[in-house]
C-alpha cells in the first residue's frame, strides 16, 4: 500500500525522461544480446540510494537478475561479467537516477552512496511514502524505479536488508 506524497517536485514523467537519457547514454549497444537465457538467473536485484537533508527519502531501482546481467554487459561492453560487476552497474544506475531526482528537489539535500542487494523475491518495502514510480524498459527488461519520502520517525538510512 502506498500514499501519494503531496506537493512533490518529482513526477513519474521526470523518471521516464531520466530513464530515456540513461538508456541513450549507457545502454544502447546493438552488438550485444538484448536477453539472456530464460530463467537462467532467477531473482531480483534491488538498489537504493538515500537523500538526506531538507528532503529525506530514497530512490529505488528493481530489476530481475537476468535483466541486471544484460544491463551490466551493455554498460561494460563485455560478455563475461562478475557478480561484483552487476552490483557496481546497478548501483551506478540508481546513483545516476538519484542524482537527477535530487536536482529537482527544492530543499538542500545530500545524496548518499548506492546500496545493492539481491533477493529471490521482490524486496520488501520500507516504511515510507511513495512519491512516484515508473516502469522503465531497458534492453527489453522492465526496470521498476520509485521515489520514496521517508517518514519522519524513520531514521534508518540506506536499505532494508
Amino acid at each position: 500500500m502506498s500514499v501519494i506524497a503531496p506537493e512533490s517536485p518529482v513526477t513519474a514523467h521526470d523518471l521516464q525522461v531520466f530513464g530515456e537519457e540513461v538508456l541513450t547514454a549507457f545502454l544502447l549497444e546493438q552488438d550485444l544480446p538484448a536477453t539472456t537465457q530464460p530463467d537462467a538467473d532467477a531473482g531480483w536485484v534491488h538498489a537504493s540510494i538515500a537523500v538526506t537533508g531538507g528532503w529525506t527519502g530514497h530512490i529505488t531501482l528493481e530489476v530481475s537478475r537476468a535483466g541486471a546481467d544484460v544491463l551490466t554487459r551493455r554498460m561494460l561492453l563485455a560478455e563475461e561479467i562478475s557478480p561484483e560487476d552487476v552490483t557496481d552497474a546497478v548501483g551506478e544506475l540508481v546513483n545516476v537516477l538519484g542524482g537527477n531526482v535530487k536536482g529537482l528537489l527544492l530543499e538542500e539535500s545530500a545524496l548518499g552512496l548506492p546500496q545493492v542487494h539481491t533477493y529471490d523475491e521482490p524486496a520488501p518495502r520500507r516504511a515510507a511514502v511513495e512519491v512516484c514510480h515508473a516502469e522503465l524498459v531497458w534492453a527489453g527488461h522492465p526496470v521498476d524505479v520509485r521515489v520514496w519520502l521517508d517518514e519522519q520517525d524513520d531514521t534508518t538510512p540506506g536499505d532494508n536488508s
Binding site: 554498460m75 557496481d88 551506478e92 545516476v96 537527477n100 535530487k102 545524496l111
Partner: protein
C-alpha cells in the same frame, strides 16, 4: 596527454574511457583511481594533465580531492563527471577551482563540449 579518471564505480570508469574514445580523444594515456584519496596519490606520482572526477566517493570525495590539490598548490586542470548537477554544486565546484561539472548521464557530444578547450 595523461588523464586521470577517479570514480568508485569501475563500470563508470569504463564508460568514461569508452566515451572519451567515442568523442575522438584517442591516443591519450588514461589512468584510474577508485576514490579521492587514491586519486590524490596518483596526481603526486603520475602528474596527470587532467583529472576527471566523480563527486560522491568513499574515503575522499571529489570536492575534498579538489580542495586538497589546490591547498597543495597543485593546479592540474580538474573537471567533475558526476550524477548531480545542481546549481549549488556547480557554484561550489567553480569556486573550488574546477573547470566544469558534467552531469551523468553524458554523451560523447556533451563530453566534447566540456573537454575541447582542455584536451589538446
Amino acid at each position: 596527454m595523461k588523464i586521470l579518471i577517479a570514480d568508485d564505480s569501475r563500470v563508470m570508469r569504463q564508460i568514461v574511457i569508452r566515451t572519451l574514445r567515442q568523442a575522438g580523444y584517442d591516443g591519450h594515456e588514461l589512468i584510474e583511481a577508485g576514490n579521492g584519496a587514491e586519486a590524490l596519490d596518483l596526481v603526486q606520482s603520475e602528474a596527470p594533465d587532467l583529472v576527471l572526477s566523480d563527486w560522491n566517493m568513499p574515503e575522499m570525495t571529489g570536492i575534498e580531492l579538489l580542495r586538497a590539490l589546490r591547498s597543495a598548490n597543485q593546479d592540474v586542470p580538474f573537471g567533475f563527471v558526476t550524477s548531480e548537477g545542481t546549481p549549488e554544486m556547480r557554484t561550489i565546484a567553480e569556486e573550488s577551482g574546477a573547470l566544469f561539472l558534467l552531469a551523468k548521464p553524458f554523451t560523447p557530444d556533451s563530453l566534447r563540449d566540456h573537454l575541447d578547450a582542455v584536451v589538446a
